[in-house]
């Protein structure tokens, strides 16, 4: 068998059913084998970055490992953003890139780039395959590394001559040969007992659920734990969906754009149990004041996360599923009390709200709220990055895990559409909606063609405020309203008449998203008035195939609640500028 045949056989043995890719010189032999392999669907994206994000979205939605196959040089480097994105959000992914022949590596050959070197700091692991004999074990190891422990992306760089070399006897290895890699499994039972005792003694306990709960498929266990103990739970952006947001113990998202109830609970608690979260700065704000009165318990599978950002009193290293299973056994039932009443009052006092004037401009929050109405219950929502992302995090009804796909750590604009494609292909029959902005959607808009030609029925919502809304918001609040390059209608002559965002701007919206969509064979609809919103959503969701729905929304609209960066997370702006 050739290296290419071994690779594809290995992918089949790993249960891979879809590969997102883009061909090129050094991977032709692999694409040739894939052409004759009906078991694996090869989806041609229009850019390698989209292939990487699609593999990522596939992995987030299904829990399986996403796979991406690209050529050397630019093909490989175009996946870099996707790899870094998957690393920061702990998404299992294997990216296979072609490489020039081993005989010319190091000679700056055509389309040569040191992919193993480039990916080292942004992947969980990376390989340069140096012999065809080592290929089967490397693929076996790559999938093992990607999906075990703290999941993450693995890059495999495969030189062209190795893909074409033959190996007489090939057996796919049964297991990895990684003596040095032993991810933790069960948490230390003494530590778990200590946490159970802390729960017993706490008057104001709170759980912070991170993406690790979703990644470990531990949502049901988390709910059993909080229901047994009546501990209220907040979620990070990555943890949304771990507890349904209509659950009486759920406080909402915490952090920079978190709910008042969630942020207050984190600040006032006397026991904080972080689970599968890395206490990132967008969640904690000022670390010195964050949960300052609390005993901190931190459950994470990655020992290097414990104590990295936040002081920790009860560290528990382990798989959160197994830790929760043990913890549910170890804790005593605990009735709801004053603390539950207090957080309930915070929730009631600060509901999420917006004030849509039926004759006024469309509010983005209103559109998102109406998506809740029109999208079926099992819909998967993907977002891009910016204001629409935070509004989606706040206003979408999160009812189940793996149904809200968003670039958390990297904040990658352009993630949404390809991630939605991956999710749609991975979960056939489930509706998938991308909520995007006019800035983000343009970063991978070429994928409209992929959607049409591959019959990927994603529904694309573009909240078009003709600007980079989140950056504009920061300029308004923190940069004296100097709106440097956040207007997407700006032309050179604007400089003399406009400081950024004139209400009576005569320039047209750019581009015309409806025409862009239609040029790609995607059904497209536009709402410019409040009265049209429902109609556009109804028509868009009724399309049998991909559809783009553009909403011309109010430009000067800020995301609140908001905690300015680096401030304590109970210093919350609720509406007005400071």
């Amino acid at each position: 068998m050739t290296g290419a045949e071994i690779l594809i056989d290995a992918l089949k043995k790993e249960g891979v059913d879809i590969v997102f890719g883009y061909p090129g010189g050094v991977v032709l032999s692999i694409f040739d084998v894939l052409f004759k392999t009906p078991e694996i669907r090869l989806v041609l994206t229009r850019h390698e970055q989209a292939a990487a994000h699609a593999a990522d979205g596939y992995a987030r939605a299904t829990g399986r490992t996403g796979v991406c196959l690209v050529t050397s040089g630019p093909g490989a480097t175009n996946t870099i953003t996707g790899l870094a994105n998957a690393k920061l959000d702990s998404v299992p992914m294997v990216v296979i890139s072609g490489q020039v022949k081993t005989t010319v590596i190091g000679s700056d050959a055509f389309q040569e780039t040191d992919m193993a070197g480039l990916t080292r700091p942004i992947c969980k692991h990376s390989y340069l395959v140096q012999t065809v004999e080592s290929l089967p074990q490397i693929i076996r190891n790559s999938f093992h590394i990607a999906r075990t422990g703290r999941p993450g992306p693995v890059a495999v760089d495969l030189p062209a001559d190795i893909a074409m070399a033959s190996l007489e006897t090939y057996v796919y290895p049964e297991g990895p040969d990684l003596a040095s890699y032993q991810p933790p499994d069960r948490g230390n039972s003494n530590q778990i007992r200590k946490l159970a005792a802390a729960v017993r003694n706490a008057a104001r306990p709170v759980v912070l659920a991170g993406g690790g709960i979703i990644g470990a498929d531990a949502s049901t266990l988390l709910m059993r734990f909080i229901e047994k103990t009546n501990i209220p739970a907040a979620a990070t952006l990555m943890g949304l969906g771990s507890v349904p947001d209509d659950h009486e113990l759920f406080l909402g998202m915490a952090g920079m754009h978190g709910r008042v109830s969630a942020n207050n609970a984190l600040m006032e608690c006397d026991l904080l149990i972080g689970m599968g979260t890395r206490f990132e700065d967008r969640v904690t704000g000022d670390l010195n004041t964050f949960a300052a009165k609390a005993v901190i318990a931190h459950v994470d599978i990655d020992p290097s996360e414990i104590g990295k950002n936040l002081r920790t009193h009860i560290p528990i290293v382990g798989d959160v599923r197994s830790v929760l299973t043990d913890l549910i056994e170890a804790v005593d039932p605990r009735p709801a009390g004053d603390w539950n009443r207090l957080v309930g009052e915070w929730s009631a006092a600060h509901p999420l709200a917006y004030d849509q004037d039926s004759e006024g401009e469309i509010l983005p929050q209103y559109v998102i709220d109406r998506i809740n109405h029109w999208a079926p219950g099992n819909t998967i929502i993907a977002t891009d990055v910016g204001q629409h992302q935070m509004w989606s995090a706040l206003f979408i009804r999160h009812r189940r895990p793996r149904a809200f796909l968003s670039s958390g750590g990297m904040g990658t604009m352009g993630f949404g559409l390809p991630a939605a494609m991956g999710a749609s292909l991975g979960c056939p029959g489930r509706p998938v909606v991308v909520i995007s902005g006019d800035g983000s959607i343009q970063m991978n808009i070429q994928e409209l063609a992929t959607c049409t030609l591959n019959r990927i029925p994603v529904k694309i919502v573009v909240l078009n405020n003709s600007c980079l809304g989140m950056v504009r918001q920061w300029q308004e609040l923190f940069y004296n309203k100097i709106f440097s390059k956040t207007c997407l209608k700006e032309r050179p002559e604007c400089r003399s008449t406009c400081s950024g965002h004139r209400p009576d701007c005569p320039n047209v919206f750019w581009p015309d998203f409806v025409r862009v969509a239609e040029a790609n064979g995607v059904a497209a609809f536009r709402a410019t008035r409040v009265s049209e919103v429902d109609d556009v959503l109804r028509r868009g969701f009724a399309v049998d195939g991909p559809a783009l729905m553009e909403f011309r929304v109010k430009k000067i609209e800020n995301v609140f609640p908001m905690v300015p960066g680096g401030k304590p997370i109970n210093h919350i702006l609720l509406g007005e500028a400071p």
Binding site: G117, R120, L128, I145, S180, S304, G307
Partner: protein, 158 residues
């Protein structure tokens, strides 16, 4: 308090492992004072001895990050541990047109060896704890040190 720390890192002997560790430290803002490595009696296992600076918490964090690398078997910070011999090796080229007998006396006192000797200079091979090397270099300064190279820390448990 920022301190010097010696880390003994045992890794699988795989391509790029040294680059991974060096890259990890630089990407997280640490400077490497010295790094030295060689395969162990088991050719599949490689031993790296690395010296860096940081607070106890910082070193704990970077040790965990190194431990997290797929190829890392073990990381031990021996700086505050008893029961390790921490040694350095040095080669020192000293001007020797004058004061040759005194230089050779000091070589003897320090248990060093002369590797090469010419009219112009003596090349000395010296090993021992860091303080001993520092002291020897200090004593050689008046004669004129042309050049020297130190291995950085290598260590072995007692």
């Amino acid at each position: 308090m920022t301190d010097k720390h010696t880390l003994l890192i045992t890794v699988a002997n795989r391509v790029g492992v040294l680059a991974r560790i060096a890259g990890l430290l630089s990407s997280r803002g640490y400077n490497i004072e010295s790094i030295i490595g060689w395969r162990t009696e088991n050719p599949d296992i490689y031993q790296i001895h690395l010296v860096t600076f940081g607070t106890r918490q910082q070193i704990e964090q970077i040790s965990k990050q190194i431990q997290k690398l797929i190829d890392t078997i073990k990381v031990v910070n021996i700086s505050h541990k008893k029961g390790y011999w921490i040694y350095e090796f040095a080669l020192v080229k000293v001007q020797a047109r004058k004061g040759r007998p005194e230089i050779l006396d000091l070589v003897n006192v320090f248990g060093a060896k002369v590797v090469d000797i010419t009219q112009a200079f003596v090349i000395i091979d010296l090993s021992g704890p860091t303080q001993k090397i520092d002291r020897f270099l200090d004593l050689m300064k008046p004669f004129g040190i042309r050049e020297y190279i130190r291995s950085g820390h290598i260590a072995i448990s007692a």
